[in-house]
Amino acid sequence: MSEISILSKADLLARTLTMLSETVDRYELFADQMDVVNNPEAADIFRWLAEKQNNRTQVVESLSKDTELPHISPWDYNWDDAINTSAHYMMTPYHTLSLAIAVEQSAAKLFLQIEQSEISSDVKKMAHGFAREANDFCAQLEKKRREYPMPEKGWDEDHDPPLMLE
Amino acid sequence: MNDFASLATPPTQHIGVTRSLSIAMLGSGGSGVMTAGGQLLDAAGQAGWYGMMTRSSGPQIRGGEAAALLRLSPKPVETHKGRFDILLAIDWLNADRFVGEIILDSNSIVIGDQGGTVPEAISRMGGRYVELPLSELAKGISGGRPNMVALGALAHLIGLPIDALEAVLTKSLSKKGQEAVDASMAGVRAGAEQASAVPDIPDFKVEANAKQERWSITGNEAAGLGAIRGGVRFVAAYPITPGTEILEWLAPNLKKVGGVLVQAEDELASINQLIGGSFGGTPSLTATSGPGLALMIESIGLAVASETPVVVVDVMRGGPSTGIPTKSEQSDLNIAIYGLHGDAPHIVVAPMSIGDCLFTTQWATHLAETLQTASIVLSDQSLGQTRALIDRPADIAFVSGGRSITSRSEDFKRYAVNDSGVSPMSIPGTVGCQYTADGLEHSPTGTPSSRAEDHIQQLNKRKRKLDQFDYGDHWALTEGEGEIAVLTWGSSTGPVSEAIDMLRAEGYKVRLISMRLLLPAQPQRLAQALQGVERTLIVEQCHGAQFHHYLRAHYDLPGEIRSMAIPGPLMIRPDDVYSELKAWENA
């Protein structure tokens, strides 16, 4: 989990923005993948997720407007749960939303840890706010997931073998 | 002096054409005939003559039998006659291996060292035998060598001024010091003095031409210079006989003009290094021979498909497989034209003389650059490794326009389909024009595509750019008139041209057409060149008649056609072509 300590608002904002941009990039990538493998339902949900995260990014960016943020190199943190998820070409909307829920749960957990660490109260307050947002989004996703059926066993069965390309 | 002319075959003499003198110098392991031959050639050039020298040798790297075959003339010469006026042997060890290459008759002079025995295979051909004490004279001079004595004797016999030899020796031995020059000159003088005992043969005194700037150059060196004149600044090299000298000449010289040569691990690497160099914006070339070309073929297709200009000079040798590496053959025509898989239009050109290796390589580079494609230059061992005295080749400048994008362009499409077929090409470093070059079929932007529409568009584009280009008069050498034509290419042009001269001297009208541009085919131009022709002889040094078949496939040939397709390793001689044409005439 976190390898750098969050001491200031600037640290927290930088960290949050990096996490958000990671998830936006991932969701966009997955949306593209789903387009390529002709899975429009999953693609649409990933696009919607990317847009949601993008909106949150804009909010956090506006909060950071007057703050000089430290640069975080990719290897300076390792938010494994979010950046290491992978998609499946036959994944259903249920899987798609489950993936996003896991990401949000992980984010909320991280912000909670930060909130509980030895930091000033205004940073704590901000971390608390971010954790709440993540939890709220998570609840929204869970609600949305209920609109879709749970995938049946064998959902990833492909009756054709893989193709030969080059 | 022994006379074994009585054993000889009848002399083959033709009337008045190129007056010239052919000299063969033989010797084995360390005798220095190659060096002496080169010095004789250069001295002849100093004295205002033209000429050429070919090296022939056994399979040994050191110590084997070797022959320097020279032909000197007041006019430029492009081929050996086969028949030799003088054969000088420092020794006769294994000399009969050259019998096929060196033809003597009763008018030839055979010179050997005192006490030697002329092999029967040589003495049988005829000629007047003269013994000179080459070794003995050399022994009498401190640092003296028989090859220098021989050089002096030959100079005297052919009327070459000793001053010209001295100038050449002084230059070539400058690193070894004055002592070496003096010893060599002492040998030369001793040889010359001894040769004055040989009865004078007036025929042999060739009057030298007026002095003007003359070059001593091999076809391989000329190809190297042509590459640099054409703008080549990156060369990837893998050694192979007989193409290596192009690379060895380029290594130091390319550096002087700001270029670079890299020795690659194999030909697969060298061709792909070229593609990388060229992609980076640097005109790129390599030289090889048949086996190397075979290895490069896949990536030449990549250059065609990705439209990355590259030039490959194939100095052809006897094939197939390892074949006869040190001897010439025109048998890589098929692989050069048809070797690429898929429909891959590209350029194939062939120099028709040693000096033309310069122009043709330069032109090939210009065409590759302008048309963003691969050019294959088909030179061969006889052009590449023969040294000739030629007039300074003209400076020719081409304006290449292939790499058209050097600044940001908003709607840049690397493989844009347009009328000319030549799409804009950016080079790395150009902002906003990044693209991925691809050997996969692609859309105009370069994105891989297997769609029928993209394939046909790109196929048409790659064909169109070559078909529409105006190659001008460079496509062929066309000369003369009449109802008989000889159609040839590459190094066969020399003997064909000389055979036609012989026939013309007898009053025949014969056309010569030698094709420099082999791909894309130029059917309209050839049809025009052959207008009114009733008989065409197709001459090539190739057992499989590849040129003949190529002509049949791509052109309509009028009238009667005959094919004269002779494999290496022996060169086609003017006499052979002359006899073929005479026989046809009389049929």
Binding site: N84 | R233, G258, V262
Partner: protein, 279 residues
Amino acid sequence: MEMANTCPSLKAKDYKSGTKPVWCPGCGDYSVLLAITKAMAEMSLSPENVALVSGIGCSSRLPAYLNVYGFHAVHGRALPVATGLKVSRPDLTVLAAGGDGDGFSIGGNHFMHACRRNVDMTYIVMDNQVYGMTKGQASPTTDPDWDKSKLTPGGTKINPYYPLVIALASGANFIARASSTDPNGAAKVLVDAMQHPGFSFVHMLSPCVTFRPEQKDWKKMVRAAPVEPTTDPAVAAKRLMTDDNFFLGTLYKGNRAPYQPELKTSVEHISELEKGFIL
């Protein structure tokens, strides 16, 4: 390494082109692409001054997905193309990339000589121990008993090739392993590789979800190498010979000078060269 100009304002995704990859979802190569863009962003490289060359195979599709100059060459020849480019254009940042079949089998000779020649470039081999584009045949890094290919029933029965050991023996100046399961760690290795002079070899574990689904477990098997990079080839040799293929990080950093023939800027006129031919 010095760049003529840099672009500090670019983000990782600005290095991606608009072309969508054809890789299978879940393929490790997506993360390698991400790691490369992150590394480029960290180094503030100007996209027009970077070129990535590849051969043939799934991972060799990479250049089209980046907003840098790219060359998708033929099978096995990425390294010579990259060599020709870098030697004639030393001002560019040059990378080569491909898979284990492309780099170690058909391109094996070039790999050895590229290590030996030590031109300043970075070579990323995405190793999934299988030929994906031809439907799952064994590659030089496949275990001898892997029996899922129709081409080698019962397995290859041939010991796998050890690319890092061969790289060291051949003279590579930088040897590292990274994994697509840790793209941020991979980005760090890539920055390190690109900044190190000479030939840098990055062995990139990149699972194939289609033909080697068991490789999903690699995520649990990889771990940071518990050592600092060594400059001593003997130490590196022992390290690489005893390596279990899952240690990540920079393992060897040599100090050999890169091969870069001088490109003269003050040049002679061609007529000077011609003087050698005048009698």
